[in-house]
């Protein structure tokens, strides 16, 4: 059992607070660290991997402080976000060097096993400088896995990967999670985290905004006022029909909204409080009233707005 504990941790850089009083426990299985860019995910991962000291609070692995403790690397495998990795080495040389640096009894066998795990044997004789982003990511994974660590930390591992590589990596991480290893990865994409992580920790603006399994997080994120921009053949009549139902909290008739493609002159700005019900209500009401819907678009689906809602609640 390898457990990383983050206890009342803050980290500031000069006047900027990157992580603000965060407490969380990362245990076996896959945990997703979710948050928009600049939320403090990398700062947290740097502290968990011993590359940054907390300004206050403690980051420990099974009760032992991680900062300035090289022995923790016997248990931790780190996949950094940066791509530079001794470009002049071949994939094989790179992973082998990592195995040797760990002082493993049979570094050659460990390197072979790690490269096989990430299915990179076919390109192991090529210099890593010639690799694609996905290939680099996999060789970085191999270097982090070479000593069979109990904890695997990955900083934005899916960045720049194509869908096939993404699925492959997810499959690999799932296997590690199933093995009882502690796997933590960061991402700013909810769908990514949802597909993979059993447990999700959400950080926004340096603060721990939410924690739970993906269903809880999804519910938190969908049970909030949703804003829509709707264009139709008769905005005014549609508005009156919609406001009669309890799922809408407010409708604004905007006559000046610029139409997309010039098909309609105005638009409705609708705030729905019951997301599920509104999505079934809208087409039904429109059909019954004989109104044509030209545009139905969510006005605030950016992750940032979802997150800011979570933080304010």
């Amino acid at each position: 059992m390898a457990v990383i504990t983050i206890d009342k941790v803050s980290r500031w850089f000069g006047n900027v607070v990157a992580v603000n009083d965060v407490t969380m426990t990362i245990g076996p299985g896959i945990t997703g660290l979710l948050g928009p860019n600049g939320a403090g995910k990398s700062t947290l991962i740097h502290m968990m991997s011993g590359f940054l000291a907390p300004s206050s609070g403690a980051v420990t692995l099974d009760g032992v402080p991680i900062w300035r403790n090289q022995q923790v690397y016997r248990q931790i495998g780190l996949v950094p976000e940066k791509e530079s990795m001794y470009d002049y080495l071949t994939g094989w040389e790179f992973v082998l060097a990592n195995a040797e640096l760990h002082g493993l009894a049979d570094p050659g066998a460990a390197a072979r096993r790690a490269l096989a795990l990430v299915e990179m044997e076919y390109a192991q004789e090529r210099q890593t400088g010639t690799y694609s982003k996905g290939m680099k990511q996999r060789v970085k994974m191999a270097s982090a896995l070479v000593h069979d660590p109990a904890v695997l930390l990955l900083d934005e591992p899916f960045n720049g990967m194509d869908p096939r590589q993404r699925l492959q990596l997810m499959e690999l991480l799932r296997r590690f999670g199933a093995d009882g290893r502690t796997v933590l990865f960061s991402s700013h994409i909810l769908e990514e985290v949802e597909q993979l992580a059993r447990h999700i920790e959400v950080v926004v603006a340096g603060r721990h905004a939410a924690s739970g399994d993906f269903r809880e997080i999804r519910r938190l994120m969908t049970d909030r006022p949703h804003r829509y921009l709707v264009r139709s053949s008769d905005d005014r009549r549609l508005a009156s029909a919609l406001i009669a139902d309890g799922s809408t909290a407010g409708i604004e008739l905007d006559a000046k909204a610029l139409p997309e493609g010039g098909s309609a002159a105005g638009a409705l700005r609708i705030e729905a409080i019951d997301f599920q019900r509104f999505t079934t209500l809208l087409p039904k009401v429109a059909r019954e009233a004989g109104i044509r819907l030209y545009t139905v678009s969510p006005a605030d689906e950016s992750l940032e707005s979802v997150f800011s809602y979570l933080v304010s609640s």
């Binding site: 995910k41 090289q70 690397y73 016997r74 001794y86 060097a97 002082g103």
Partner: protein, 238 residues
């Protein structure tokens, strides 16, 4: 010493375009020596200019700078140092291994060419060539350690090192009496004086002082670099 760290460091150092600059300077020194050998000027004076000013005063600090920062600053800069640091390796071992590579490279690229240049210009007379060669050996060692430390503590190691080499060593160290005691170049010269025939080389710093200061500088820089490396933090992207 860690052979893997040494291998990675040496390949990084010599495997890049940097090696061309590293080779260009000693080659230039040898070319100048050949030209000087065929001139009618006083050979002892020429030897002092070439071996003292050019080799010990310029070639050694420049090589020490490129090599000392090159063995670690580049990796810190591009972030690949993570792969060395995320290992259960004592930090002093990483630093001393990298230092050993840097020192070896400085000897090969600065001390050896200095010796050859000395032989070309002055032959084996007065032990002058050997004296300057050993002077560059000890100065190169100290420079390697100092510049390696600089590579760990600042992201602008090359500029800081250049400023140090040009302003302190070349300008102040050459002209201000008191500052000479704290100049690597002068320490090297003290060693040269001790080996060369009496009266051929004058060094302002006594040998004992020079040797002690050399040891303190090299060992101190290495120890400090080890401490700094174990507290190395990664800058986030955010």
């Amino acid at each position: 010493m860690n052979t893997t760290v040494a291998r990675l460091t040496a390949r990084g150092l010599f495997g890049r375009r940097r090696v061309l600059i590293l080779l260009a300077v000693p080659v230039l020194l040898l070319v100048i020596s050949v030209i000087a050998r065929n001139s009618d000027l006083d050979k002892l004076e020429l030897a002092h200019s070439i071996l003292g000013n050019l080799a010990l005063g310029t070639l050694v600090p420049i090589t020490g700078l490129i090599v000392g920062t090159g063995v670690i600053a580049t990796e810190i800069e591009d972030g690949s140092i993570v792969y060395l640091l995320a290992k259960p390796l004592p930090r002093w071992q990483i630093v001393t291994t990298k230092l050993a590579v840097a020192i070896g490279a400085t000897w090969l690229l600065a001390a050896l060419p200095t010796y050859v240049a000395g032989l070309i210009v002055y032959g084996t007379a007065d032990n002058l060539a050997l004296g300057y060669a050993l002077g560059t050996v000890v100065a190169g060692t100290a420079y390697s350690a100092l510049f390696l430390l600089l590579g760990v503590v600042t992201r602008h190691a090359v500029i800081a090192g250049l400023a140090y080499a040009l302003i302190w060593e070349s300008l102040i160290g050459n002209y201000v009496e008191g500052a000479r005691t704290l100049s690597v170049q002068q320490w090297g010269l003290s060693v040269t004086q001790a080996i060369a025939a009496d009266g051929t080389v004058t060094a302002p710093v006594g040998l004992t002082t020079a040797v002690w200061l050399l040891i303190v500088a090299a060992v101190g820089a290495t120890a400090l670099a080890s401490v700094k490396l174990s507290g190395l933090t990664l800058n986030g992207e955010e």
